[in-house]
Subunit: 193 residues, 2 copies
DNA sequence: CACATTAGTGAACAAGTGTACACATACAGA
DNA sequence: TCTGTATGTGTACACTTGTTCACTAATGTG
Protein backbone atom coordinates (compact mmCIF):
# COMPACT_ATOMS: atom_id res chain seq x y z
CA UNK A 1 0.00 0.00 0.00
CA UNK A 2 2.87 2.33 0.78
CA UNK A 3 4.39 1.57 -2.59
CA UNK A 4 1.16 2.37 -4.40
CA UNK A 5 0.85 5.64 -2.50
CA UNK A 6 4.44 6.49 -3.33
CA UNK A 7 3.77 6.03 -7.04
CA UNK A 8 0.64 8.14 -6.81
CA UNK A 9 2.70 10.77 -5.04
CA UNK A 10 5.13 10.73 -7.93
CA UNK A 11 2.38 11.88 -10.25
CA UNK A 12 1.09 8.56 -11.48
CA UNK A 13 -2.65 7.92 -11.51
CA UNK A 14 -3.82 5.05 -9.42
CA UNK A 15 -5.90 3.65 -12.28
CA UNK A 16 -2.79 3.26 -14.40
CA UNK A 17 -0.79 1.32 -11.83
CA UNK A 18 -0.10 -2.33 -12.44
CA UNK A 19 0.57 -5.12 -10.00
CA UNK A 20 4.13 -5.63 -11.17
CA UNK A 21 4.83 -1.93 -10.94
CA UNK A 22 3.61 -1.72 -7.38
CA UNK A 23 5.51 -4.79 -6.21
CA UNK A 24 8.64 -3.52 -7.94
CA UNK A 25 8.34 -0.26 -6.03
CA UNK A 26 7.78 -2.25 -2.85
CA UNK A 27 10.98 -4.19 -3.47
CA UNK A 28 9.19 -7.48 -3.60
CA UNK A 29 8.44 -10.13 -6.18
CA UNK A 30 5.16 -9.81 -8.17
CA UNK A 31 3.59 -12.95 -6.78
CA UNK A 32 3.84 -11.60 -3.26
CA UNK A 33 1.11 -9.15 -4.18
CA UNK A 34 -1.50 -11.88 -4.00
CA UNK A 35 -0.61 -12.63 -0.39
CA UNK A 36 -2.22 -9.34 0.55
CA UNK A 37 -4.66 -8.27 -2.15
CA UNK A 38 -6.87 -9.99 -4.65
CA UNK A 39 -6.31 -7.27 -7.25
CA UNK A 40 -5.66 -3.55 -7.58
CA UNK A 41 -9.24 -2.64 -6.72
CA UNK A 42 -8.85 -4.48 -3.46
CA UNK A 43 -5.71 -2.50 -2.71
CA UNK A 44 -7.62 0.68 -3.50
CA UNK A 45 -10.38 -0.23 -1.08
CA UNK A 46 -7.90 -0.84 1.72
CA UNK A 47 -6.34 2.52 0.95
CA UNK A 48 -9.76 4.11 1.35
CA UNK A 49 -10.01 2.54 4.79
CA UNK A 50 -6.68 4.00 5.81
CA UNK A 51 -7.72 7.32 4.33
CA UNK A 52 -10.63 7.22 6.72
CA UNK A 53 -8.19 7.04 9.63
CA UNK A 54 -6.21 9.97 8.29
CA UNK A 55 -9.37 12.05 8.03
CA UNK A 56 -10.44 11.15 11.55
CA UNK A 57 -7.06 12.16 12.93
CA UNK A 58 -7.44 15.48 11.13
CA UNK A 59 -10.91 16.00 12.59
CA UNK A 60 -9.67 15.28 16.06
CA UNK A 61 -6.91 17.82 15.78
CA UNK A 62 -9.27 20.38 14.32
CA UNK A 63 -11.69 19.92 17.19
CA UNK A 64 -8.92 20.27 19.75
CA UNK A 65 -7.36 23.42 18.31
CA UNK A 66 -10.33 25.25 16.97
CA UNK A 67 -12.91 25.30 19.69
CA UNK A 68 -11.49 28.17 21.70
CA UNK A 69 -10.55 30.21 18.68
CA UNK A 70 -12.44 33.19 17.35
CA UNK A 71 -11.15 32.52 13.84
CA UNK A 72 -12.82 29.19 13.38
CA UNK A 73 -12.65 29.09 9.63
CA UNK A 74 -9.07 30.22 9.15
CA UNK A 75 -7.87 27.82 11.81
CA UNK A 76 -9.73 24.88 10.35
CA UNK A 77 -8.52 25.58 6.85
CA UNK A 78 -4.97 25.91 8.12
CA UNK A 79 -5.18 22.55 9.82
CA UNK A 80 -6.62 21.04 6.69
CA UNK A 81 -3.83 22.45 4.55
CA UNK A 82 -1.21 21.21 6.99
CA UNK A 83 -2.62 17.71 6.99
CA UNK A 84 -2.94 17.72 3.23
CA UNK A 85 0.77 18.45 3.02
CA UNK A 86 1.95 15.88 5.55
CA UNK A 87 -0.27 13.20 4.03
CA UNK A 88 0.08 14.45 0.50
CA UNK A 89 -0.02 11.04 -1.11
CA UNK A 90 -3.16 9.99 0.70
CA UNK A 91 -4.94 13.12 -0.36
CA UNK A 92 -3.74 12.71 -3.91
CA UNK A 93 -5.23 9.27 -3.89
CA UNK A 94 -8.45 10.75 -2.56
CA UNK A 95 -8.61 13.42 -5.26
CA UNK A 96 -7.98 10.82 -7.94
CA UNK A 97 -10.42 8.34 -6.52
CA UNK A 98 -13.40 10.69 -6.68
CA UNK A 99 -13.45 10.29 -10.45
CA UNK A 100 -11.52 7.07 -10.50
CA UNK A 101 -12.01 3.84 -12.32
CA UNK A 102 -13.28 1.66 -9.51
CA UNK A 103 -16.85 2.34 -8.59
CA UNK A 104 -16.25 0.85 -5.15
CA UNK A 105 -13.37 3.19 -4.36
CA UNK A 106 -15.42 6.12 -5.63
CA UNK A 107 -18.29 5.20 -3.38
CA UNK A 108 -15.93 4.68 -0.45
CA UNK A 109 -14.41 8.12 -0.73
CA UNK A 110 -17.79 9.72 -1.18
CA UNK A 111 -18.97 7.98 1.92
CA UNK A 112 -15.98 9.26 3.91
CA UNK A 113 -16.91 12.74 2.79
CA UNK A 114 -20.49 12.29 3.88
CA UNK A 115 -19.30 11.14 7.27
CA UNK A 116 -17.02 14.12 7.52
CA UNK A 117 -19.87 16.47 6.65
CA UNK A 118 -22.18 14.91 9.21
CA UNK A 119 -19.55 15.22 11.93
CA UNK A 120 -19.11 18.85 11.02
CA UNK A 121 -22.85 19.33 11.30
CA UNK A 122 -22.81 17.75 14.75
CA UNK A 123 -20.04 20.06 15.88
CA UNK A 124 -21.84 23.13 14.66
CA UNK A 125 -24.98 21.99 16.38
CA UNK A 126 -23.11 21.36 19.59
CA UNK A 127 -21.52 24.80 19.43
CA UNK A 128 -24.95 26.34 18.91
CA UNK A 129 -23.72 28.11 15.80
CA UNK A 130 -26.22 28.19 12.98
CA UNK A 131 -28.96 27.47 15.46
CA UNK A 132 -31.62 28.90 13.20
CA UNK A 133 -31.07 26.27 10.51
CA UNK A 134 -33.19 23.18 10.18
CA UNK A 135 -31.31 19.90 10.31
CA UNK A 136 -31.66 19.49 6.57
CA UNK A 137 -30.34 22.96 5.87
CA UNK A 138 -27.45 22.46 8.22
CA UNK A 139 -26.57 19.26 6.39
CA UNK A 140 -26.81 21.12 3.12
CA UNK A 141 -24.40 23.76 4.38
CA UNK A 142 -21.89 21.25 5.70
CA UNK A 143 -22.03 19.26 2.51
CA UNK A 144 -21.26 22.39 0.54
CA UNK A 145 -18.41 23.23 2.90
CA UNK A 146 -16.86 19.80 2.57
CA UNK A 147 -17.16 19.87 -1.22
CA UNK A 148 -15.53 23.25 -1.37
CA UNK A 149 -12.64 22.12 0.76
CA UNK A 150 -12.31 18.93 -1.26
CA UNK A 151 -12.09 20.94 -4.43
CA UNK A 152 -9.43 23.14 -2.91
CA UNK A 153 -7.50 19.94 -2.45
CA UNK A 154 -7.10 19.81 -6.20
CA UNK A 155 -5.58 23.28 -6.20
CA UNK A 156 -3.37 22.47 -3.29
CA UNK A 157 -2.01 19.28 -4.78
CA UNK A 158 -1.19 20.93 -8.07
CA UNK A 159 1.32 23.35 -6.56
CA UNK A 160 4.58 22.47 -4.90
CA UNK A 161 4.23 22.03 -1.11
CA UNK A 162 7.25 24.30 -0.69
CA UNK A 163 5.72 27.17 -2.59
CA UNK A 164 4.58 29.00 0.50
CA UNK A 165 3.15 31.89 -1.45
CA UNK A 166 0.83 29.80 -3.59
CA UNK A 167 -0.16 27.59 -0.67
CA UNK A 168 -0.98 30.73 1.28
CA UNK A 169 -3.10 32.04 -1.57
CA UNK A 170 -5.07 28.82 -1.71
CA UNK A 171 -5.55 28.89 2.03
CA UNK A 172 -6.85 32.43 1.96
CA UNK A 173 -9.12 31.80 -1.00
CA UNK A 174 -10.55 28.67 0.57
CA UNK A 175 -11.22 30.57 3.78
CA UNK A 176 -13.07 33.24 1.86
CA UNK A 177 -15.14 30.62 0.11
CA UNK A 178 -16.17 29.20 3.43
CA UNK A 179 -16.89 32.62 4.86
CA UNK A 180 -19.17 33.36 1.96
CA UNK A 181 -20.96 30.07 2.45
CA UNK A 182 -21.46 30.75 6.13
CA UNK A 183 -22.70 34.24 5.44
CA UNK A 184 -25.20 32.61 3.12
CA UNK A 185 -26.12 30.07 5.75
CA UNK A 186 -26.47 32.84 8.32
CA UNK A 187 -29.07 34.60 6.17
CA UNK A 188 -30.69 31.45 4.92
CA UNK A 189 -34.44 31.09 5.29
CA UNK A 190 -34.80 34.69 6.48
CA UNK A 191 -34.58 35.92 2.91
CA UNK A 192 -33.19 33.00 0.89
CA UNK A 193 -34.98 29.84 -0.31
CA UNK B 1 -10.67 10.95 -30.02
CA UNK B 2 -14.16 9.57 -30.25
CA UNK B 3 -12.85 6.13 -29.44
CA UNK B 4 -11.03 7.38 -26.36
CA UNK B 5 -14.16 9.17 -25.19
CA UNK B 6 -16.21 6.05 -25.76
CA UNK B 7 -13.87 4.03 -23.55
CA UNK B 8 -14.00 6.70 -20.86
CA UNK B 9 -17.77 6.60 -21.12
CA UNK B 10 -17.64 2.86 -20.52
CA UNK B 11 -16.10 3.47 -17.12
CA UNK B 12 -12.43 3.29 -17.97
CA UNK B 13 -10.11 5.98 -16.70
CA UNK B 14 -8.31 7.99 -19.33
CA UNK B 15 -4.96 7.49 -17.60
CA UNK B 16 -5.27 3.75 -17.99
CA UNK B 17 -5.97 3.78 -21.72
CA UNK B 18 -3.33 2.50 -24.09
CA UNK B 19 -2.66 3.38 -27.69
CA UNK B 20 -3.52 -0.08 -28.95
CA UNK B 21 -6.72 -0.10 -26.95
CA UNK B 22 -7.87 3.20 -28.40
CA UNK B 23 -7.06 2.28 -31.99
CA UNK B 24 -8.79 -1.06 -31.54
CA UNK B 25 -11.92 0.74 -30.38
CA UNK B 26 -11.58 3.10 -33.35
CA UNK B 27 -11.45 0.14 -35.72
CA UNK B 28 -8.06 1.08 -37.01
CA UNK B 29 -4.56 -0.36 -36.86
CA UNK B 30 -2.28 0.76 -33.97
CA UNK B 31 0.24 2.55 -36.15
CA UNK B 32 -2.46 4.86 -37.47
CA UNK B 33 -2.53 6.48 -34.07
CA UNK B 34 0.71 8.29 -34.80
CA UNK B 35 -0.78 9.97 -37.85
CA UNK B 36 -2.87 12.08 -35.49
CA UNK B 37 -1.23 12.19 -32.08
CA UNK B 38 2.27 11.99 -30.71
CA UNK B 39 1.13 10.09 -27.63
CA UNK B 40 -1.82 9.77 -25.28
CA UNK B 41 -1.10 13.06 -23.56
CA UNK B 42 -1.39 14.77 -26.90
CA UNK B 43 -4.75 13.12 -27.47
CA UNK B 44 -5.81 14.33 -24.03
CA UNK B 45 -4.87 17.89 -24.84
CA UNK B 46 -6.89 17.84 -28.04
CA UNK B 47 -9.83 16.50 -26.07
CA UNK B 48 -9.51 19.45 -23.72
CA UNK B 49 -9.76 21.76 -26.71
CA UNK B 50 -12.95 20.10 -27.86
CA UNK B 51 -14.24 20.20 -24.31
CA UNK B 52 -13.81 23.96 -24.52
CA UNK B 53 -16.17 24.04 -27.48
CA UNK B 54 -18.74 21.96 -25.63
CA UNK B 55 -18.62 24.33 -22.68
CA UNK B 56 -18.99 27.36 -24.91
CA UNK B 57 -22.04 25.86 -26.58
CA UNK B 58 -23.52 25.27 -23.16
CA UNK B 59 -22.86 28.86 -22.12
CA UNK B 60 -24.48 30.18 -25.25
CA UNK B 61 -27.61 28.15 -24.64
CA UNK B 62 -27.69 29.20 -21.00
CA UNK B 63 -27.45 32.86 -21.96
CA UNK B 64 -30.24 32.52 -24.52
CA UNK B 65 -32.71 30.72 -22.28
CA UNK B 66 -32.01 32.24 -18.93
CA UNK B 67 -32.02 35.96 -19.41
CA UNK B 68 -35.74 36.47 -19.34
CA UNK B 69 -36.37 33.97 -16.60
CA UNK B 70 -37.05 34.77 -12.98
CA UNK B 71 -35.62 31.44 -11.90
CA UNK B 72 -32.10 32.07 -13.06
CA UNK B 73 -30.40 29.44 -10.94
CA UNK B 74 -32.80 26.57 -11.51
CA UNK B 75 -32.80 27.21 -15.26
CA UNK B 76 -29.04 27.35 -15.46
CA UNK B 77 -28.59 24.20 -13.44
CA UNK B 78 -31.16 22.43 -15.57
CA UNK B 79 -29.30 23.38 -18.73
CA UNK B 80 -26.05 22.24 -17.19
CA UNK B 81 -27.53 18.90 -16.23
CA UNK B 82 -29.01 18.45 -19.68
CA UNK B 83 -25.70 19.14 -21.37
CA UNK B 84 -23.84 16.90 -18.96
CA UNK B 85 -26.14 14.09 -20.02
CA UNK B 86 -25.93 14.63 -23.77
CA UNK B 87 -22.17 15.02 -23.63
CA UNK B 88 -21.69 12.54 -20.84
CA UNK B 89 -18.36 11.24 -22.06
CA UNK B 90 -16.86 14.68 -22.43
CA UNK B 91 -17.84 15.59 -18.93
CA UNK B 92 -16.52 12.31 -17.61
CA UNK B 93 -13.24 13.09 -19.23
CA UNK B 94 -13.35 16.50 -17.59
CA UNK B 95 -14.05 15.10 -14.14
CA UNK B 96 -11.22 12.61 -14.52
CA UNK B 97 -8.78 15.12 -15.92
CA UNK B 98 -9.01 17.46 -12.93
CA UNK B 99 -7.00 14.97 -10.90
CA UNK B 100 -5.52 13.18 -13.86
CA UNK B 101 -2.06 12.04 -14.68
CA UNK B 102 -1.07 14.63 -17.26
CA UNK B 103 -0.21 17.95 -15.74
CA UNK B 104 -0.96 19.66 -19.05
CA UNK B 105 -4.48 18.25 -19.27
CA UNK B 106 -5.08 19.20 -15.66
CA UNK B 107 -3.99 22.76 -16.32
CA UNK B 108 -6.06 22.89 -19.49
CA UNK B 109 -9.27 21.91 -17.75
CA UNK B 110 -8.59 24.26 -14.89
CA UNK B 111 -8.11 27.04 -17.39
CA UNK B 112 -11.41 26.23 -19.08
CA UNK B 113 -13.06 26.52 -15.70
CA UNK B 114 -11.43 29.86 -15.03
CA UNK B 115 -12.68 31.11 -18.37
CA UNK B 116 -16.15 29.88 -17.59
CA UNK B 117 -16.10 31.65 -14.24
CA UNK B 118 -14.95 34.91 -15.77
CA UNK B 119 -17.69 34.76 -18.40
CA UNK B 120 -20.21 34.19 -15.65
CA UNK B 121 -18.85 37.22 -13.82
CA UNK B 122 -19.24 39.31 -16.96
CA UNK B 123 -22.82 38.21 -17.36
CA UNK B 124 -23.68 39.02 -13.79
CA UNK B 125 -22.06 42.41 -14.16
CA UNK B 126 -23.95 43.08 -17.36
CA UNK B 127 -27.23 42.11 -15.72
CA UNK B 128 -26.44 44.46 -12.84
CA UNK B 129 -26.97 41.65 -10.37
CA UNK B 130 -24.54 41.65 -7.49
CA UNK B 131 -23.75 45.27 -8.23
CA UNK B 132 -22.49 45.92 -4.73
CA UNK B 133 -19.60 43.46 -5.09
CA UNK B 134 -16.10 44.53 -5.98
CA UNK B 135 -14.63 42.89 -9.07
CA UNK B 136 -12.48 40.66 -6.93
CA UNK B 137 -15.41 39.54 -4.80
CA UNK B 138 -17.52 38.89 -7.85
CA UNK B 139 -14.74 36.72 -9.25
CA UNK B 140 -14.55 34.92 -5.95
CA UNK B 141 -18.26 34.22 -6.04
CA UNK B 142 -18.23 32.97 -9.61
CA UNK B 143 -15.24 30.76 -8.94
CA UNK B 144 -17.07 29.21 -6.04
CA UNK B 145 -20.16 28.71 -8.17
CA UNK B 146 -18.23 27.01 -10.94
CA UNK B 147 -16.44 24.74 -8.49
CA UNK B 148 -19.70 23.76 -6.88
CA UNK B 149 -21.24 22.91 -10.21
CA UNK B 150 -18.11 21.01 -11.24
CA UNK B 151 -18.29 18.95 -8.10
CA UNK B 152 -21.93 18.18 -8.75
CA UNK B 153 -20.71 16.74 -12.01
CA UNK B 154 -19.11 13.95 -10.02
CA UNK B 155 -22.45 13.16 -8.41
CA UNK B 156 -24.25 13.36 -11.70
CA UNK B 157 -21.88 11.05 -13.52
CA UNK B 158 -22.04 8.43 -10.82
CA UNK B 159 -25.75 7.79 -11.27
CA UNK B 160 -27.47 6.39 -14.32
CA UNK B 161 -28.67 9.11 -16.71
CA UNK B 162 -32.04 7.35 -16.84
CA UNK B 163 -32.56 7.51 -13.11
CA UNK B 164 -34.74 10.58 -13.25
CA UNK B 165 -35.33 10.62 -9.53
CA UNK B 166 -31.66 10.73 -8.58
CA UNK B 167 -30.84 13.19 -11.33
CA UNK B 168 -33.64 15.39 -10.07
CA UNK B 169 -32.29 15.21 -6.53
CA UNK B 170 -28.86 16.27 -7.69
CA UNK B 171 -30.34 19.12 -9.68
CA UNK B 172 -32.30 20.36 -6.71
CA UNK B 173 -29.38 20.04 -4.33
CA UNK B 174 -27.06 21.85 -6.70
CA UNK B 175 -29.58 24.65 -7.10
CA UNK B 176 -29.80 25.03 -3.34
CA UNK B 177 -26.02 25.14 -3.09
CA UNK B 178 -25.95 27.98 -5.56
CA UNK B 179 -28.79 29.79 -3.85
CA UNK B 180 -26.92 29.64 -0.59
CA UNK B 181 -23.79 30.98 -2.25
CA UNK B 182 -25.71 33.84 -3.80
CA UNK B 183 -27.38 34.66 -0.52
CA UNK B 184 -23.90 34.84 0.92
CA UNK B 185 -22.73 37.01 -1.93
CA UNK B 186 -25.74 39.25 -1.50
CA UNK B 187 -24.82 39.92 2.12
CA UNK B 188 -21.11 40.00 1.53
CA UNK B 189 -19.16 42.98 2.76
CA UNK B 190 -22.18 44.39 4.58
CA UNK B 191 -21.63 41.97 7.43
CA UNK B 192 -19.25 39.34 6.14
CA UNK B 193 -15.47 39.55 5.58
C1' DC C 1 10.18 -28.95 20.32
C1' DA C 2 6.73 -29.57 16.61
C1' DC C 3 3.61 -27.57 13.64
C1' DA C 4 0.51 -24.62 11.21
C1' DT C 5 0.25 -20.15 9.28
C1' DT C 6 2.06 -16.19 6.95
C1' DA C 7 5.05 -13.87 3.74
C1' DG C 8 8.29 -14.14 0.21
C1' DT C 9 10.76 -16.58 -4.00
C1' DG C 10 11.75 -18.04 -8.91
C1' DA C 11 10.50 -19.92 -13.15
C1' DA C 12 7.15 -20.08 -16.59
C1' DC C 13 3.50 -18.74 -20.06
C1' DA C 14 0.27 -16.60 -22.93
C1' DA C 15 -1.22 -12.19 -23.98
C1' DG C 16 -0.78 -7.38 -24.48
C1' DT C 17 2.18 -3.13 -25.06
C1' DG C 18 4.67 1.00 -27.58
C1' DT C 19 6.98 2.01 -31.54
C1' DA C 20 9.67 1.64 -36.09
C1' DC C 21 9.64 0.76 -40.91
C1' DA C 22 8.31 0.15 -45.65
C1' DC C 23 4.34 0.02 -48.29
C1' DA C 24 -0.57 1.07 -50.13
C1' DT C 25 -4.43 4.02 -51.20
C1' DA C 26 -7.20 8.18 -51.70
C1' DC C 27 -7.47 12.64 -53.34
C1' DA C 28 -6.70 17.77 -54.00
C1' DG C 29 -4.17 21.21 -56.67
C1' DA C 30 -0.89 22.09 -60.50
C1' DT D 1 -2.98 13.84 -65.96
C1' DC D 2 0.85 13.96 -62.78
C1' DT D 3 2.34 14.52 -58.11
C1' DG D 4 2.52 15.49 -53.19
C1' DT D 5 0.18 14.99 -48.94
C1' DA D 6 -2.76 12.72 -45.56
C1' DT D 7 -4.32 8.55 -43.91
C1' DG D 8 -4.34 3.70 -43.24
C1' DT D 9 -2.01 -1.23 -43.45
C1' DG D 10 1.08 -5.32 -42.12
C1' DT D 11 4.98 -7.02 -40.18
C1' DA D 12 8.28 -7.07 -36.77
C1' DC D 13 10.75 -6.58 -32.26
C1' DA D 14 11.81 -6.12 -27.65
C1' DC D 15 9.37 -5.52 -23.42
C1' DT D 16 5.85 -5.61 -19.91
C1' DT D 17 1.82 -7.51 -17.99
C1' DG D 18 -1.32 -10.68 -14.90
C1' DT D 19 -1.46 -15.07 -12.96
C1' DT D 20 -0.19 -20.10 -11.99
C1' DC D 21 2.54 -23.32 -9.44
C1' DA D 22 5.69 -25.59 -6.39
C1' DC D 23 9.07 -24.30 -3.12
C1' DT D 24 11.33 -21.85 1.01
C1' DA D 25 12.08 -18.96 5.18
C1' DA D 26 10.23 -16.92 9.22
C1' DT D 27 6.98 -16.71 13.09
C1' DG D 28 4.34 -17.44 17.06
C1' DT D 29 1.26 -20.85 19.54
C1' DG D 30 0.26 -25.59 21.35
Amino acid sequence: MGAALALVGKGRHFASLGIREVTRQAGVVPTSFYRHFRNMDDLGLQLVDELGLVLRRMMREARANVLQSDKLIEESVAIFVAHAQTNRNFFMFMAQGLAGESRAVQEGIRSEMRFFASELANDLRRLRLMDHLSDADLDLTCDLVVRTVAFSLTDLLSVSPDDDYQVGQIRKRTSRFLQMIFVGAGHWQSDGA
